[in-house]
Every structure is written in C-alpha cells, then in structure tokens.
Symmetry: C3
Subunit: 347 residues, 3 copies
C-alpha cells in the first residue's frame, strides 16, 4: 500500500539528502538507540529505511510516540516500530517492536544514522552552479545564488538577491522575489514567492532528553503546486519526515508561518500574520482571516471560514464558520459578546 | 476636484508602470469585461484611465463593489463606473454605468488591459544600473542591487544586500538596512528602513470567480514621508490603485504588517508584530501596542491608544483608549475582566 | 560592585561603538541636556561613562525615569543620576543629581554625545574584509558579506547571502542561514541562525519631546550563548545600554520577535510568531506556545509553561502554567471558559 506514492516521495528526498547505509540491522538499531526487542532472532533482520506510520512498508521502521497513533499502527504495513514499553501489549504480531522509553528520541538517532544532507561545493563567482538547468527564457537577476542541480522553467523570473539552494525545482512562469530563499523545495508553475519569503528551512523539531534539547534532523521537503502565492517574509518549513504540501491555487499573505508537515488544500486563502502549527491539515477553499492561529495536529474541513484573530484549538467540520480564542461557532461568539455586554451593563 | 493631487499620483505611478493604451472606448471595455451599458450611444466614448471613486475625473472609470460606496459615488466626478445591476437605479445621470455582476473582477480585467509593469533590463555585474542617480556623499555597500532610474540622496547609506528596484527614490540621510528590499516606493529624508524590511511588494488582492482565485494587478506605490522608521522584517505592501502612505515621523517596529492602501498619520507609533489590514486609515499620534491588529477598511482617530494584543474591528474616535479582542474602551475591558473574576469565584 | 562584569560588557561594546570623549564634566552635561544641579561645586567633576542603575560605578552617570527604580538607585554605586525634580528629596547624598523634567530624553542626548558607531570602510569586491579572521575549516558561501574584524570559528558554515557586519563573532560549528543578518552580536558555538533571521538591529527606542519622536541611540549588543537556535525571519534587537542575552540551549522558532534588553534563560523554547517585549526576563526551561506575547518589563520564572496564543501582562512565578489574554492560571482559564459556555446555554 502506498508504495508508489512513497517511492515518488523518496525520489524527492534523494535530491536533498543521501542515505549513508542501504540498510541497518535490528542489532545496529538496538545499539544506536539503546533499545531492546523481544527476541534475539530479530537481530540480523535488515531495516531499509524510516517512514511514517502511514507510509512505512514491511522493510521500514516507524515510531509511535503517543497512544493516539496505536490505531493507525494497526492499519500500517510497517515491519518495525519504535514503541514505549507500556504499549507493547497493544501492537500486532507482524510488527517487530523496538522498545525504548523515548521513541521520538530514538527515532532522531536513527534518522541521523541513515541520512545526511548532500554536501555542497558552492558555485563560485557567477553564483550559478554549472549543473543548474535554466530555461533560455528564464531571467536570473544579478546577486542571486543558484545552487547545484537546480532546475528553473520557462519564463520564470528570479529577482535580485533570491537564493535557490541545491536540488530545488522551479516550474514555468514563476516569480521568485528579492531576497527570497528556496531550499529543499519543488515549486510548480505560475507561482509567486514574494520578497523575503523563506521556504524549506528546518522545522522546529526538538526532543528533550535528560534536560537537553536535542535537534531532530528534518528530512522532508516542501511541495508547492501550481498557481500558489506566498507573501513577503512568510515562512514555510520543510517536513520532518514526509513533506509539507501546499496545493494548487493556495494564496498566502505576508508574515505567515506554515510549520513542518502542514498540508493546505486547494484554493485556500490565508491572510497576513496567521500561523498554522505543525502537522495540521487545512481543507480546500478554506478562508483564514488575518492574525489567526491554528494549533498543531488539527484537521480543518473544506470551505471552513475562520474569522480574523481567531485561535483554533479543535478540529473543524466542513463549511463551519468560527471566531474567537478559543475559536467557536461564530453564532456562539456573537452571543457570548452580547452576554458579556449585558453583564457589563448590569449593576 | 483633486486633479492636481491625482496628477502627481500618476507621475509616481508612471515610474513603475506604463499605460499600454491612451484610452479604451466604452465598447472596448464592454467587450473586455463582458459587461453591458444602458445605450449604444456610449460605445464610442473614450475612457482615459482608471481611478478610485474619490479621485476619478470625468474621463476616468471607477467601480463600486458594495452599497457602502454609493454615497461616495454621488460626490465623485467619475465619468464611468462599473456597477452591479441592483445598484443601477441609485447612480446619478452624469455617470455612465458599466453593468457587471462582479464589478471587482471587471475592474481587475481593465487594469490589466490598461497597464503593465515597466520591463527591466537587469543592471549586470556591478549591480548598479548606469541610469541610477546616486549622490556623491551616499554610501552604497557591496552586494547591493540598485535598479534603473533609482535616485539616492545625500549621505544616505545603503547596507550590504539591500535591494532597491527600478524607479525608487530614497531621500537624504536615509539608512536602508541589510537585505531590505525597496520596490515601487518613494522614501523621504531621514528615514530608517531596517534589516530585511520589505517595502512595496504586491498587496494581497484576489478575486474569486467561479471557483478560481484571480490575482488583481496592484498598480499603486508606497509613499513614505520624512523621519519614518520601519523595523526589521516588517512589510508594507503597495497600494492596489492609490498609494499606501506613511506620513512623517511614523515609527514602526519589527515584524509589523501594513497591508495595501493603508494610510498612517503623522507621529503614529506601532509596536512589534502588529498588523494593519487593507485600506484602514490610522490617525495622527496614535499609539498601537505590540501584537495588535486593526481590521480592514476602518478609520482610527487622532491620539487614539490601542493596548497591546488588541483586536480592533470598529472605527475609533479621536482620543479613545481601547483594549481587548474585540477592542472596547479600556474601562469596559477592565470591568469585564473584574466581572469574569467574580464569576469565577462564585460557586 | 559588578566592575568586572561591566568591564567585559564594555569590551563588547567597544567592538561596535567608540567613545568620542574620555569624560564629560558635569558642566558639559548640564549644557548638553539643559539640566541643573544643586551646587556649582560639582561643575568640574568628570563623568567617565553612562551605565544602567545596576551597573554604574561612582564615575558613571545613570538615569531614573520612574519612581519604581528609586529603590534600585539606593543600592547603586552610581556617582551621578539624571532625575526629575520631584524625586530629588528621595535620592541619597552620595549621588550627584542632574535635574531634568525628562530624564530619558536627557539620557538620549548624553549617549549621543559620548558614543558613535565605529565607521566602516566597506570590504569591496570579494565582500570579505581583509581584517576578518576566518577559520580554515569554515565555509563561506558566495554572495555573503563579511565585515571588518569579524571572527568565524572552526567548521562554521555561512550560507549564501548571509551578512555579518563589522566586529561580530561567530563560534565553532555554527550555521548562519541564507540572507540572515548578524550585527552587533557575539554568537557562541553550535548555534543555528536560520534563513532571514535578523540579529542585532536597533531596538525600538523613541522618546517623545514636545510632539517629536526622538530616536534613542542603542548602544548594547546581542549575546547568544552555545547551542542556540533562532528560526527563519525571527528578529532579536540589540540592547539599549546593556545587552540582549540569549542563554545556552534556547530554541526560538520562526517569526519570533525578541525586543531590546530581553534576557532568556537556559533551555527555554519559544514557538513561532511569539513576541517578548522590551526588558522582560524569561527564566530557564520555560515553554512558550506559538503566537504568545509577553509584555515588557516582566519577570517570568523557571519552568513556567505559557499556552499558545496567550498574552502575559504580569510576572509569573516558577513552575506556573498559564493561558489566556490576559494570561491566568490555566485552571482558571478552563473554568472561565466553562462558565461562559454555561452562560451561553442559559436562557
């Protein structure tokens, strides 16, 4: 299941990261992560890669960090799973458990062991690497930096000071604004990335172990489909494992933060200074007013409207209209404000 | 009325945009926008330009997108107005109606037909275009890009990585910070634009027609008067038709968003992470606390104080002090908080 | 007291600013600031420098802008203090008063008189100043600007378009992202400053005198200790007099604003789009959720947790957990929301 989807994902990943090992044995993994398993028979088994619970196949390892993902694990094809001891009774027999009190930290060690960023030899004076493929009709301004293996499509215009790092692809008819930075990203056709937008940097991923904040290597990418706009100085972090995905026709205003692993559906519009926290999924044709916030790991339905300055902390169903902090149905928001006004006027 | 003001506005517009046609006939406009009018007699009339309701003259076309502007239209000198059919009975006889169910979308087609951005031939290696006029006493750091027809005044200092695009003017004694981007802007004397501030990019203007988000070309500029400060990574979008205007002595902190068409009065101070949505007008000597938001199309009086973290969704009169989301008089805000505390302590 | 601490502070200050005078006499200061004192005997006394109330020694001048610092002044070693007339009876006899109705404005004149930024002769074509000390193992990408007397440690990597202005130090194993700007800053080892982060620009310091907003020269620096991360497009302003300090292991997400004079304790984590206003001190291992705000001049204890989208306007004790605008104990926040829901359901 999902093998072809995952394969194409891995092709993207390979543009930016390289695997240091074709596989690790279970024994390797037990040593690297200081974990245990339930039988020595597994020691010599080969683990080919890491993946999310949803996408992992029987040769790959995933991890479960909280009880809420146990259900998803039952439907997963993962061959191996890092899991804390209390969940051990709950996983199915076809998953080999890697037992660790801090699965997220164990995962961070494995990803560091499996992958490294592709090393770069900076392009030098012209600031366009010889390996970059740039369409004849594309315009590259001075003061840009175009990295190795970058591809830029027909009629795209790269403004002064824009930086496109190794391996990125920009489609046809795109506009990349001044001092914008594109890294770890594949961008479709007819996109506008305005001045100073930063696409593809590391997501905010840390795990605390014994009082130390350890960084988790972020090996996803950013996929931006056709006809997308990203406003000035907005930020879109790349995914932690899978990708951050912005679908067709999404319009994002200035100073917006899109955290790692977020998915934004077709035609959704996000006004200035809003923020979508990690791993939330926004539906199609959603309207998000200015300075609104969506907390992490939520699911916002299609055609939802979120009033400006709202704080969304729960899932929202299709077509709902919400307002307030915490966000509630807009009718309730208005009623509460009326009640508060009455309360105020009452002696 | 307003002809001289409008004329000087058009001179600024002409620095950045060029008109493709001296005029369009009414017949042209009906075809471009798929609209109708009330008599074939008007077909050959010439429309010279587009303008706002307030500034349009008898040879120019404007548009009315909602009932709230009908009043303003009655005082307008506009010769032509795009209007939806239900408002037809309400416009005066000296305005020729262009009838369309989506006037805003029709407008976006006309502006695209009338104007194009001036094409650029990038400056090349030195990154200072030969046509730029730079005062002898100005200092330009390395790694900057200075576009065509840019003017930079006495003693101004342009820091490394700053980018000043075609046609912009910077007055005397200005400081343009590292990696700041100035486009479509006229900046007065003694201004500081700090590191990474982005001035003049496209406003967030889209119109949805049959499920597709169409971009509206933004043909205004940004006018910044003397002694203005703009903080690091703040953004000021250029106007959609008229200009975004920042008056003398305005002080704007870091990470502030100023949307298209906003006007900010003399001496106003805006603390960090605040946002002013499109077309709002802020009075003189207003104080806006950090992380506050002013919704679009509002009018904030002179000497108003807005507490930090407020959300303003209604007009505010001169001298008022407000707080809260939605913002209310600060006395009411404190009283509501006291009432809520009482409610909490009551069993 | 504090002399050695202050001495090392001044060494940092001297990297970026130079004193124009070894000392000013009291008479000089009275003339510059249009102030008075209590006896002509003091006129010829020499004032060697300016400093905060806490750090000033008997040859230095400080200022008290509001009654709340009078207590601190009693424990200060300051030899001179700018003070408004009504506080005159309250200062101890070993402090020589400089009497002025607007002490903050008087201070801004003195700091301008004492200091100037070190002038720069830009590095020219290679964009690396000949005086920069760059470790052999450091990698500097093209399109960077490395200023005078900059030091860059072993294995540090400076990405394309990054700008490091005169006098800054970057430790070992650091990553400075694309188009990041580092100025007036000393950065430790193993730090990551992501794309477009702006470190060290002027704090937002203005003083209004007779209707004019006067800028206050900002002569502090930014000190970032080891293992710190600063997210994309985040901003950290340098201190006004003392430094803005970010302790070891602090992790700051994207689009975060850290104002001048802020101090952030070891291991604290700040999620995206949050803002810490001027002079607030955040304890160790504090967790600040996304889009939260901490007002100015507050003290947040150790191990505090601040929920996302909170607005903190009061000090918080160690270990407290808070939420809401204004922020309250999270238990009260939940109870108020339950009460409001009940109110809503009541007829």
């Amino acid at each position: 299941m999902n093998d072809s989807k995952n394969a194409s994902h891995n092709i993207v990943r390979n543009r930016f990261f390289e695997k240091k090992h074709n596989f690790l044995t279970v024994k390797n993994i037990l040593q690297i992560t200081e974990s245990s398993t339930i039988s020595e028979e597994f020691d010599s088994l080969e683990v080919s890669d890491i993946a999310t619970v949803k996408n992992a196949n029987e040769r790959e390892i995933t991890f479960v960090n909280s009880g809420q993902y146990l259900k998803e694990l039952q439907n997963s094809n993962a061959g191996f799973c890092i899991i804390s001891p209390e969940f051990l009774p709950k996983i199915s027999s076809n998953v080999i458990p890697i037992i660790n009190r801090n699965p997220y930290f164990a995962y961070s060690k494995i990803v560091n062991h499996f992958y490294r960023e592709r090393s770069t030899d900076f392009a030098g004076f012209t600031s366009i690497h010889r390996s970059a493929e740039i369409a004849d009709s594309a315009k590259i301004a001075p003061n840009c930096y175009i990295g190795r293996n970058v591809k830029i499509g027909n009629n795209s215009k790269i403004m002064p000071g824009a930086i496109i790092l190794d391996g990125c692809e920009i489609g046809d008819n795109c506009f990349i604004g001044c001092n914008a930075v594109i890294s770890f990203s594949i961008i479709g056709n007819n996109c506008e990335i305005f001045n100073g937008a930063k696409i593809g940097q590391d997501g905010f991923g840390f795990v605390n172990n014994q009082g130390i904040n350890h960084k988790i290597m972020q090996i996803g990418s950013v996929i931006i489909k056709d006809n997308v706009t990203v406003g000035a100085n907005s930020c879109i972090d790349r995914g932690a494992i899978d990708d951050t995905i912005i679908e067709e026709q999404v319009k994002i205003d200035n100073l917006v933060q899109i955290a790692h692993n977020v998915k934004i559906g077709r035609g959704t519009v996000i006004a200035g200074c809003s923020a979508i926290a990690g791993s939330s999924e926004i539906g199609q044709f959603v309207q998000i007013g200015g300075s609104s916030n969506v907390a992490g790991h939520l699911k916002i339905g299609n055609f939802v409207k979120i009033a400006g300055m709202s704080g969304v902390i729960r899932d929202i169903k299709d077509n709902d209209i919400v307002a307030g902090i915490p966000a509630m149905k807009i009718r309730d928001f208005h009623r509460i404000n009326i009640k508060l006004t009455k309360l105020l006027n009452k002696q």
